[in-house]
Amino acid sequence: MMGQTWSLHGLSGEALLWWGVIGAALLVLFFFLRPRPISLAVSSDLLWRRALPRRSNPLIREIVLLVLQLLVLACLLGALGDPRPEADAVVSEDSGDRVWVVDRSRSMAARDEAGRTRLDRVRQDLLAQLQALDSRVQIALIGAGRTPELLAAPSRERSRLRLAIEQLRPDQSAADLAAALHLADGLEGFPTAPQLELFTDSGDAEAVLEARRTDGMPPVLLRAPFQLRPNLAITAFRLRGSEGIPAEEEALVRVANLSPWPARTHLKIESEKEVLGSAELELEAGSEVIRRYRFDPLDDSVLLARLSSTGFADPDTPELVPDALPEDDVAWAWVEPVRPVRVMLVSEGNRYLERALALIPQVRLERVRPSSWGRRKAARARSMDLVFFDRFLPEGSLPPRAFVIAPPEDRSPSEIVARLDEPSITDWNRDHPLFADLVLRDLEVQSSLVFAPKKGDERLLGGPSGPLALARSDRKGRKLVVWGFEFARSDLPLRLAFPQIIFNSLLWMREGRAVGPKAGEEIALAEELVLGGDVDSGLDDPREARIERLSGLSLPSLDETSPSPVLDLFDTAALAPTARPVVLPGPGLYRISSGGRERYVSAQMLESAESRLFPLPPQDAAAEAELPEPVEVPVLPTVWLLLAGLVLLLLVVEFGGWLK
C-alpha cells in the first residue's frame, strides 16, 4: 500500500468536506447546548464518596462521547466518499488524460429509434469510458454551445465528472466548435498534453478540424456515434395583415423535408378558438412546400402552426420512420387583434350612408341624432375614427376627423359662395385618396353648395362655379371633408363608387394609424433578446421585466363538444431576466411585460441549421475501437459502514443510559 494513491468514487472531496464541516459543527453545537446538571443539596457527600470511590469525571465521559460521535461521522463520510485504491495495472494502452468536448447544439436533441437523444448517446459513452479508464487518468469536460463552457475542470474525481456528464443538456443554438476546442487547448492542470475528443453531429466538424490541422493545433479525435435520422421542419411561419378595410390576415407556412427520404405530414394552423386551416402534405426528399391561409381578423391572438403524424419512407424499413427532432415541428405567432373602426353618424337618418358603412366589416357605427348632441357626444366624437355630420353642424370646434355633408349655410366650415341647382360637375380629384381609381362621370346632383377654398384646401370635385366638395388636413393630423350636397339628392348612392368613396374616406381618415392586424416579432431560438424599446421605456433595470412562456405545446382543438378554450395560456412561472441580454430557454411564445406594457416574441427554430440532421461527420476510426473492459476494484464502502456501525454500537452500549 506504500505509495499507493486513493481516489474518491462516491461524493467529491469538496462535498465530503462540506458535509463533514456541517456535521461536526452540529455535533459540537449540541455538545455545548447539552442540558446542564441540576444542583442537589445533600447533608453530606461522605456517603456519596464512599459509594463512588472510583468515580469518573462526567465531563471526560461527555468529551469521549463527542469524540465517538465524530468518529461515527468520519466513518459515514468515508462510506459516502467511497475511497478506493487506484489499480496498479494499466488497464488500457491509452491511459492518457482526456478532454471531452461535447456538442450541445439543438440538433443533439434529435432522437433515435429507441427514443434516446444524441446527447443521451454521448452521455452513455462518456459514462462507460469513465468506468473503464484508469482512475489515474485526468479528465475535463467542455460543453460546446453558443459559447463554450467548462463543465468539469481537469480532475480524477469520478463522482464530480459523473455529475457533470449527467447534467448535460442541449443548448438552444448551434455549437461553436472552434471556440470550444480553443478553450480545451488552453486548459491547465494536465501534466502532459491531453487527448482531445470531440462529440458532435455537426456537418461543419470536419472543416473545423481541418483548419486546426492547418494551423498545427493538437489533433482532435472526432466521435459521432449517431444514427442518421430524418427531420421535417417548419422553416417559416409568417403572418401578415392587410392594411385595408376590411383587414384580412394571411398566414404563410413553409415546410421543408430535411432528409433523403420522402415524407408525409399533417399541417395544422390553429388559434386559441378554432382551426384555421389544415392540410395533408407530401414532400419529396429535400423539398419544401409553402401554404398560405387567409382568414378574417381574429379576436384571439395566439396562432400555432404544427406538424404531426410525420412519417418518412425509409427504403430499409417497412414502417414509416418518425421525425427525429420535434422542436422544429411547431411555430408560434402573435397577432395584435384588429381594432374596429369607430364611426359616428350624426344625422336624422341617412340610409344610403348607413348601408355603405354596414358593408365594411370592421366598422362600428354609432348613430346620434342632432337633437341629442351635447358636450358628452362632442367628447366621444373626438375619439372616433370618423364622424359624419349629415345636414347638421354643432357649435364650437369639430372633431379631428369629420365628414360634413350639406352643412347649414350659416355654419359651414368652408365659405359658401353659392347654391346651385343641378350643378354641372366637370371634375373630380383622381389623385386624392378618396377617389383613387374611381370614375364619377355624369354625376347628377339636384342641388349643391359651392365653396370658396382656402389655402391648403384640396378640391375633391366641382364644376365651373367652383368646388362642390373639399378636403382639408393639417400637420396635427386633423382632417375634414366638406361635401356640398346631400347624398339622397344625387345619384351618387346608386353608383358603385359610393361605398368605395366611403371606404376610402375611412382609409384616408385613419391614414398613419394601424388598421390591419400586426404580427408580433419573431426571434431565432438562440438569438439574444434585448430588453429595450417601447415595452421597457422608463425601466431602470431590465431585471424588473417579467418573461412568461406559453404553457404547453398544444392548443385545444375545436369540436362541437369542446369546452371553452383556455384564454390564459401563459405559464405564470416567470423567467427572470438578467442584466445581460436574455436567451430564451426553448421554443415557444413569450410575453414580456413591464410597467403595464406587453410585448410578444415567438422563439423558434425557423430556418435553423440545427434542423438539418444530415450529414453526420465521419467518426474517426480510432474512436470506433471498443472500450476497455472495466477493472475489478475492491469494494470498500461496506467497510466504512461496518466501522460506523461498530462505533455506533459502542456508543449505545456505553452511553445508552445517557439517552434516558
Binding site: P37, V42, S43, S44, L46, L47, R50, A51, N57
Partner: protein, 299 residues
Amino acid sequence: MPEEALELSPEFLRKLEFLRLSSRRLHAGRSAALQRSRKLGRGMDFADHRPYVPGDDFKDIDWNLYGRLDRLMVRLAEEESELNLHVLVDCSRSMGTRPEAGGLSKSEFARRVVTALSYIALARLDRIHVYPFAAALGHPITPTRDKAQALRVYRHLGKVDVDGETDLEAVTRAFAEVARVRGVVLVLSDFLAPAGWQRALDLLRHARHEVAILQLTAPQEERVTARGEVLLRDSETGRVTRVRITEAVARAYRESFLQHSEELRSYARSHGLFYSRARCDDAFEELVLRTMRSERFLA
C-alpha cells in the same frame, strides 16, 4: 423570627410521666431522686436481710422472719438516687436538612426529642444537661428540677444556629473535660462527620460514661430518587461533586447508607450501648413512647 411554640398534648405529657430514664449501669447521684441505685440503705424496696445489731432501728426488724426463725433480722432496701443525663445535640448545618416533602428538619426533630427527654428526666427529679454542638461543644442548657422547665430546653435549643461543620471528636473531648459527673450520654446526630464518629464515642466510653446513640436521618439521605447528571453540594463543607446518578449509582449509595447505619449499630451492640435510628419525618412521640422503651433507653 417568632419563637415556634411546641404543642405537647396533655395525653402525651401524661404518658411521659410514666416513663423514666433507664440505665444499664446505675450511677451514684448527689441527691435522692427517683432513680435506682446499687447503694443499699433506707429505701422503699426490699433488697436483703442481715442480723440485728444493737443500734439498728426497731422498725427495720423483720418480725415475720423472727417468728419463723426465732432470730432477730433487719430488712435492707435499695437506696434511690438521681441520674445524670447528658444530651449532646448535633446542631451542625447537616442537621438542617428537611424532608423533600416537607416537615420537620433533623434539628427540629431532635429538639422535640430532647424536650420530651427533659420532661421525663425532670419529672423523675433526674438531672439533664443539654449540649448543642457542631464543630465545638456549645454552652450547656441545664434546666432545674421543675418539669415545666423542659420547655426552656426547647426554647434555648431554638435559639441555637444550625450551622457549622461537625467535629465529633473535638466535641466529645471537650465534653469529657467539662462533665465531671458520670452519667448517660445520649448523642443525637446524623453521624455524618468528615473525621468519623468512632473515636469520639470511644472517648466518651473511656470517660466511664454510658453512651447512647440516636441516629437521625432524612428520607432523602436513606434513598436517592434523583436521576441523571447532578451537582451534589455538601451542606457543611460546600464541596461540589458532579455525579451521574443511574440506577446502579443509586443502589450503591443506598448500600453506603445502610453500611454506615450498620457500623453504628454494630458499635453499639459490641459495647452494650443503646442505639436507635429515627427519620425526621417520623412521629417523635412514637420514638419516645415506643422505640426508646423497646430499646430500653426508657423504662
